[in-house]
Symmetry: none
Subunit: 219 residues, 4 copies
DNA sequence: GATGAATGAGGATTCATTCAT
DNA sequence: AATGAATGAATCCTCATTCAT
């Protein structure tokens, strides 16, 4: 009666997907805003227009939901970064990558906040996050960086992890510190203009970083 | 031995201070590790060798304790950064500042994680944190930055906030992302060597950033 | 049998109502017996055959439960007293009112105790109680009293509030002082016989009160 | 050192008595206002300008303090009522008694509220209260009442307990219902004028009650 | 798929009380 | 006589989760 009698086998009904995604959306926002422990299943359910009990029809528990949020958010990020694996010269694609990542994160601004939280607290999900997604990325990035650090480069191969990490800080920091800096700077760092500025700034910084070192290393 | 024989009447008894500080220490570590919501008063009390009820003899509630932790941690950081107010050329003191801050944070590695969490979640305490401590610092830093950005400088005055923020990301990111990167890179970013490397790297980066732009702005 | 076979869809399931009412019953008894502060949610829940957590599925907090108890108890009392509004001569309906109220309170003997407690402590709920229920009743009663206090009456219009209040004391006092007087007098003032006696006594007193004053006001 | 070196043996020092009485005063007010369970030792101590710990230097526990409050309040009331035992005609002394009690209660308006609370909740202290103080009084009052209820009296000997109780309700009710009626009537029943009015009203009522019944008992 | 009701575990906090100082 | 610190027990209430409907 309440369940449609047609196309019953056609995988989860349309409405199900919608609900599931709505839950994921709200969960992402809330987890990013208050952290895992600070977010209650009830809050997520309510925001998604559900009862907590109903939420359990879609996710087996709070942890699984959290993982699903992470996975859904991280996966496209990974794909976007896979360009690095193409072996092209980083300097060529650099600006595009920066702008691409910034653009993607701009549309999912909860994601970097969420990852930052996860990273800082070092929770249970961290290892998973690291092992499955970030580890391979990092390796590829380091390899790419080392490839291009020739004898005359500013940066040595040993500095590769530091440099890559630095970019992680620069990109994620802008999002995760946004609530604080919004207060301090008087403008929302997540506004389109601010994001464009930051994107431009990072590209400029990237160029600056790859300048050859002057003969006399004067600052 | 534990109780000094002089000035016995001055201020709250020695033992009280010890307890209070022990609570603050444990709370700082736990808050940084699990976030505010993820840390229970019971855990803090237990770690400090107390009953939860006893903890309330020292702090009126969890929130007040949290604020006390923040305040105690941030204050010395602020003082250390006040060098910026001396008006000296940033390039001169830059390296010292970076190394100084890194050294201080290295000894209180919970602090930047805590602040990062606070910043990312944008909790109630954020405004306070921003208004009282970070706002004035940021203004001073921006002013200092602008002072030295001459016509021939790489960075324009408009970029000052972005640049300062970037340094915030670079410094705090290293600490707040440490748990994640520790997994990924296979070495603890908070180890003395890693911190020394990072410090050196940042100083080098600072020098690189202040290089004059080549005539043709090619990357 | 316990579940009707008709109109199965109407309103919350039968069981819910039963539970809710069971909670209200137990809460009424306990609140009247030990006062608001002296009654724990756990006690109420246990008496109602529930876990404290379950109780919160029916009432959002202790306060809301208390208000619900008051409301449920006071409402029928009000309706019963609305006879006063019919404008009939008080002397005619007086005895019926007294007996009616006494009979009603006899069946809900917790109620007057509860109201007395509330009245004496002047808690937060008092204003509500006063404004919503007692105020209008009192006004109507005073008006009715004044209507019939003719020139030759024993009681002046100014004494109306005092007289009405006195009846409040006489009726509620019997219930609220019952635990004490039960000890002192050696019989339970809430037993059917005692209540009948009190009812008869009050009716007699009402008649006595409305006697014309003798010419010489000698006591 | 901290204790004066003179008159150390002269029973508890002056200050002690003062403190003890201050505690009793505050406790009386708070117990009457919020009931026993609703009043915390800390509140009492704070109101008396003490630490909870200090309060225990004066009373062995909360219960003992409560009993002391009751005792201190009830004793003078008893003494004042002992006039009833003199065997004088109740009608003679009636008005004086009423006015005397009202005057006394007016000065200790917390007391009747406190007793009403105790009476309504039927707490542990109730038996004590009843046995030690109210029982004998009640007996004396009933005896006095019966003595004067001759053949031609309005009230029978059987009604004596009811009549006495009624006076209890009338007198105590005025105080215990004061917070509620203050809201409803728009004037504080504990103000001097209101108390005078009530006193006058009760005296008048007493006279009215003792009128001979007309031949035809019509109302 | 949705939900109301139920619950054990745990949350923060208050309580009355003790004791060394 | 006063108090700061400590505490076990109890407070109200929320949590994630289950299950019958």
């Amino acid at each position: 009666m309440s369940t449609p009698d047609i196309a019953i086998a056609e995988a989860p009904s349309r409405g199900a997907y919608q609900t599931r995604d709505r839950i994921l959306d709200e969960a992402e926002a809330l987890f990013a805003h208050r952290g895992f422990a600070g977010t209650s299943v009830r809050d997520i359910a309510t925001c998604a227009g559900l009862t907590p009990a109903s939420l359990y029809n879609h996710f087996s528990n709070k942890d699984a939901l959290y993982r699903a949020v992470l996975e859904r958010g991280v996966q496209p990020l990974i794909e976007r970064l896979s360009v690095l694996a193409t072996g092209q010269d980083v300097h060529e694609v650099g600006p595009q990558i920066i702008e691409g990542i910034m653009a993607h994160l701009a549309e999912h601004s909860h994601l970097p906040r969420l990852i930052s939280l996860e990273a800082a607290t070092g929770g249970e999900h961290l290892n998973e996050l690291a092992r499955d997604w970030i580890q391979p990325l990092m390796n590829r990035a380091i390899a790419a960086f080392e490839d291009e650090s020739h004898a005359d480069s500013t940066w040595t191969a040993e500095e590769a992890p530091l440099a890559i990490s630095a970019w992680l800080y620069l990109i994620f920091g802008h999002f995760s510190m946004a609530p604080l800096l919004s207060e301090v700077l008087g403008r929302d760092p997540l506004s389109p203009e601010a994001l464009a500025d930051q994107s431009r700034f990072l590209v400029k910084l990237a160029k600056q970083m790859s300048l050859p070192v002057p003969d006399d290393g004067a600052a």
